[in-house]
Symmetry: C2
Subunit: 198 residues, 2 copies
DNA sequence: GGCTAGGTATACAGACCTGTGAAGTCAAGG
DNA sequence: CCTTGACTTCACAGGTCTGTATACCTAGCC
């Protein structure tokens, strides 16, 4: 009955079992894909029964949303931390998402969890879709905000260009195996920004 | 003698039933995702029995590979056609993939079939993966070739940047709903190219 | 003591999955 | 006439999927 899929799943107020479930599900959803992983597997690998999984997360979709939300939060926290470190250096603040890309991607060959989840969730009304769309819009709006603060011309346009460069770098890295796609694209972003600051 | 492409599934030498199966599978794989579509559904929607599907394509994976290969071929054909139309206009030739993006994407909100398929095929040895990787590498190498012909500086680097812009535009369009992501990113590509031509 | 939260174990429902086997229909072409 | 290719019908094997039900255990807390 209770579809408590609302964001009541703050990672820090989860029971020990739930924390393990979420950790395992995150790993498996990312590495193998959402449809390819069953709740039986998640429960077994978490050392927990399926009953517990359903008591804590309500449904597979509920668990999926929790996975996307915690990943989103981790991304935003990382960016916020580096924005703080960049302080008032306006140009550098704009490029923070490019700067963190290498460490965010690590050596994974599975690309962006949000883009991947998007591929598996075709229904626009799916609760997971909203987390995905919000994540990308947040990044675009972050670019826009920092560009405006930096006094760049046409921030609307440039925000979309930087978002595209950013997402494209992840794709190039994951699919084509361009090992330094992040640095290469970082340079392109810097060039576009420089042009908008003249 | 036939070429060593292994793919005996050239679209023009398929039986009528097989053609229908491939058309239906392409639509369903793209719209709903690969794992989300069963062979029963594909057979039923094609007005064909499952037996026929397996006789023609061998397995679901075989059908999937045929889907990816025909899509890849259609993309390459479209680009080749527009490259011909651009003739010797070197700068324009470089940007052809951006020029065709609006019509290629249409009004679909499902993004790139290769990126989506990549998300559902985590195993590096999967035959479908190789089609996907080849498609993206082909585009990068096309950029590289045209950039070299145009006399641009550092074509290695710029090819990756253009590839990233291109893939990122598709993502921005599909997920964030940036309706003119293609045009916006086309402009960025033009700017980067102009800088490399000075 | 008694209550509650957070589990455990096991079985089950009902649907869906890929893939195969055996036998039959029907039309075109040598 | 007879073979071949394309396709049909339909049953079935052997799994896996999400989700639920029943019954029990255990530690902490009031």
């Amino acid at each position: 009955m209770s579809h408590a899929t609302g964001g009541a799943t703050r990672a820090d107020q989860l029971t020990p079992g739930a924390r393990r479930i979420l950790a395992v599900a995150s790993e498996l959803f990312y590495r193998r894909g959402i449809h390819a992983v069953g709740v039986d597997t998640i429960a077994a690998e978490s050392g927990v029964t399926k009953r517990t999984l359903y008591d804590r997360f309500g449904s597979k979709d509920g668990l999926l949303v929790a996975y996307l939300e915690t990943r989103d939060q981790r991304w935003r926290d990382l960016i916020a931390e580096r924005l703080d470190a960049a302080k008032g250096d306006a140009a550098r603040r704009v490029l923070v998402p490019f700067e963190v890309l290498p460490e965010w991607l690590g050596d994974s060959d599975r690309g962006c969890s949000f883009i991947n989840a998007f591929a598996e969730l075709p229904e626009p009304e799916h609760p997971g879709r909203q987390v995905i769309v919000a994540e990308k819009k947040w990044l675009r709006d972050l670019f826009h905000h920092e560009l405006t603060a930096a006094g760049a011309t046409d921030p609307d346009r440039l925000a979309v260009q930087l978002l595209s460069l950013h997402e494209g770098a992840i794709v190039s890295f994951a699919i084509v195996g361009e090992t330094d796609a992040a640095a290469t694209v970082h340079a392109a972003a810097r060039a576009l920004l420089a042009e908008a600051m003249r």
